[in-house]
């Protein structure tokens, strides 16, 4: 009994006291942001055909479908060209800012708005990669994914240094951003534009009000406790979302694997041959022929694919086996990117895989990236984790959290 309660309290302490996996959540933030950014840039010449009001899936058709399925898309708020171009350009901007980790929480919300706007507008243009991004853009909103490798983390560091020098820098951008977005949200709600399914509008309001609460508590609260409570709640939500993201990746592999087990072509060891011969998935026909030249090779790859997909969720219980399989899956997706001509699907899947990468590997990766940018690697050759967002400056939590939070009695805020 004691052992059980000990284990339980240890788990509770873990999930309440910190936002776990700062590097993992940062790398998926960067991964999904980059995937969507590259996709939008690649499709820029085709944007009208894909999502424009006069494309084949014209505004009116999309509007009829969305009326029946209640999906959330700001793109259908107006059928004007200007609105479309603005939303597309903003979706590009938001994915870039999320990638950089600028006002991360706010940008994760806007990133989601951009993804949903375009994808729900033209559902029949998407593929599995879009599906992954769609889900992950929603899940990312719940995470504190800007703790490391972000402009927010840098700002928090500088803020701390400034405080150490006795300065009291004021954040004006955060509250301004919050104000503008809040105004838009209120206007949209009053105009009845958020009459879709309740979930996304409720999420927008929750984050917006949550940021206000965070800011108010940071400024006004006489004791540190309300602020610590909010910090704890944000940790819990983050850790829950991280679990969902990991489980979602497992569900993807498990579904793909277990359904394959039932397929006659996966059983007879020829499955891999077929996609390589499809007109729509063979950008390099000669490469496909080369890969399926040997029956033995095709059989081995076919069986390995199924085995790895089915096995992956179970290997999470063994770190070493998990890492081997993870390397295999990332490699396989890299091959799929080229051979089947699915770079954005593959990039999205690799980003999802990255949530399982070991911290030590991610840190080395971070160091390499820092060196490549010509920046010195901090202390001991290790990228340092800045203090996981202190409640007072909360780098990862978007707009209003930036305001300097005077701590009670002039004491430094908790954890600064």
């Amino acid at each position: 009994m004691n052992r059980l309660s000990l284990a339980l309290s240890r788990v509770i302490a873990r999930v309440t006291d910190s936002a776990l996996g700062p590097h993992q959540t940062a790398v998926i933030r960067i991964g999904f942001g980059l995937t969507w950014l590259l996709f939008l840039l690649r499709e820029f010449p085709h944007r009208q055909e894909l999502y424009g009001p006069d494309g084949p899936w014209e505004w009116d058709l999309a509007d009829q479908l969305v009326t029946t399925n209640d999906a959330f898309t700001v793109l259908l708020w107006s059928d004007s060209q200007i609105w479309f171009e603005a939303v597309y350009a903003l979706a590009v901007l938001w994915s870039l800012l999320l990638l950089l980790g600028w006002r991360t929480r706010t940008m994760s919300v806007l990133f989601m708005v951009g993804v949903l706007a375009l994808q729900n507008r033209s559902v029949f243009m998407g593929d599995g990669g879009d599906n992954v991004l769609h889900l992950m853009s929603i899940y990312l909103v719940f995470t504190r994914c800007g703790q490391v490798w972000s402009l927010d983390a840098r700002r928090a560091r500088r803020l701390k240094e400034a405080r150490a020098r006795g300065e009291r820098p004021r954040d004006r951008v955060g509250p301004a951003l919050w104000g503008v977005l809040g105004l838009l949200l209120i206007l949209a709600t009053l105009a009845g534009r958020t009459d879709s399914d309740w979930f996304i509008p409720a999420l927008l309001w929750t984050v917006w009000l949550g940021q206000a609460l965070w800011w108010l508590v940071g400024r006004r609260a006489r004791s540190g406790e309300p602020r610590i409570l909010l910090d704890v709640v944000a940790n819990i939500v983050h850790n829950g979302a991280l679990l969902v993201i990991m489980a979602e990746a497992c569900l993807i592999y498990a579904t793909a694997g277990w359904y394959k087990v039932q397929g006659s072509r996966w059983q007879d060891g020829t499955a891999v041959h077929y996609p390589l011969q499809l007109e729509y998935f063979s950008p390099w026909p000669a490469l496909g022929d080369l890969l399926s030249a040997s029956g033995t090779m095709v059989m081995l790859v076919t069986y390995a694919t199924v085995a790895v997909q089915v096995a992956f969720p179970f290997t999470l219980f063994n770190r070493r086996v998990k890492n081997v399989l993870l390397a295999f899956m990332i490699l396989e997706h890299a091959v799929i990117a080229v051979v089947l001509g699915l770079p954005f699907f593959s990039l999205a899947m690799i980003a999802a895989d990255a949530v399982f990468l070991p911290t030590s590997f991610l840190r080395r990766l971070g160091d390499l990236a820092a060196r490549a940018c010509g920046r010195p690697v901090p202390r001991g050759g290790r990228a340092r984790v800045p203090g996981p967002r202190s409640p007072a400056d909360a780098p990862a939590d978007g707009a209003p959290a930036k305001a300097p939070a005077p701590a009670p009695g002039g004491a430094p805020g908790p954890r600064t």
Partner: protein, 293 residues
């Protein structure tokens, strides 16, 4: 208490009460990275610290703001985590934890039932699952499963054109999928307009029409309009109407060919194409002039 017998981790003092550790949380046990000091400037060593001012053990009932000491004297050390909270705030944290735990479990359960094959439970609770999943959490991960597609399905179109002098003529068949295929060849990043547009529009059409090509429900009508508009756009780009001509009607057909088995296989499969030809569709006025896409 056997927790202490291990002697390895005195931080677990709160375990016996089934509550989170009431001591100031040191980052170490919580940090996945094992980073010794995520808190940055945390002074001192956790083991040496006095209990925090608001430890529930010390001060279970009083609101912290009522404690004058908290306003005048800085806390002995930075505090954070549940451990730094008084009981009533801890109850709030516990409520949040319970709520999130329930939400995560329900969401994962619903998602599992949504992607799993139809089964006893998912049939029984179909409506609940659909209400939870749709519209934003819809997903399908049967990637090349249970079997990969083993047919090339080409969508082809021809048009009836009204020429400038009032005569009408019928064009030959344009193989739009072959055009897509050529656009994809040697392309490291094919566009969704080349890879998904026509392919998925045709899937959408097939899934919303019966074998006699009659639309099933509202989505059938939508898919027809969508496919027609893609045809018009592509014919327009190919300048099928010619100078001064306009498109009057279009006809679509699909040509399905089995992918031949690999050379080293002794399987025999017919590679004779099978056609599915749709009726002629008249174009609405605005579409005869093009301007799509």
């Amino acid at each position: 208490m056997d927790a202490y017998d291990k002697g390895s981790d005195a931080r677990q003092g709160g375990a016996g009460r089934g509550l989170p550790d009431p001591r100031p949380a040191t980052p170490a046990p919580a940090s996945p990275t094992g980073d010794p000091a995520p808190g940055g400037s945390a002074p001192g060593h956790p083991a040496d610290r006095p209990p925090p001012p608001y430890s529930p053990r010390e001060n279970p009932d009083s609101a912290p703001s009522a404690d004058p000491a908290s306003l005048t004297a800085p806390p002995a050390e930075p505090r954070s985590g549940v451990a730094a909270l008084s009981l009533r705030y801890q109850i709030g944290a516990a409520a949040a934890l319970a709520l999130v735990a329930v939400a995560v479990c329900v969401h994962l359960g619903m998602t599992f039932l949504h992607v799993a094959p139809s089964n006893t439970v998912s049939k029984q609770h179909r409506e609940t699952i659909e209400n939870w999943i749709y519209p934003e959490f819809e997903q399908n991960w049967k990637l090349f499963a249970p079997n990969p597609l083993q047919q090339n399905i080409a969508v082809q179109v021809r048009a009836e054109v009204l020429t400038a002098d009032g005569a009408s003529r019928t064009t030959g068949w344009y193989d739009l999928s072959a055009q897509d295929g050529r656009a994809i060849d040697g392309n490291p990043a094919p566009s969704h307009t080349q890879q998904n547009e026509l392919r998925r529009a045709w899937d959408f059409f097939v899934s919303t029409h019966d074998n006699d090509n009659r639309p099933v429900g509202h989505r059938g009508a939508l898919s027809e309009a969508y496919l027609r508009r893609i045809m018009v756009m592509r014919l327009d780009r190919a300048d099928a109407a010619g100078p001064g001509g306009t498109l009057a009607r279009v006809q679509v057909r699909s040509r399905t060919t089995n992918v031949p088995p690999p050379d080293w296989s002794d399987e025999k499969i017919s590679t004779t194409p099978v056609y599915r030809t749709l009726p002629w569709w008249s174009l609405p006025d605005d579409e005869t002039r093009g301007g799509i896409g």
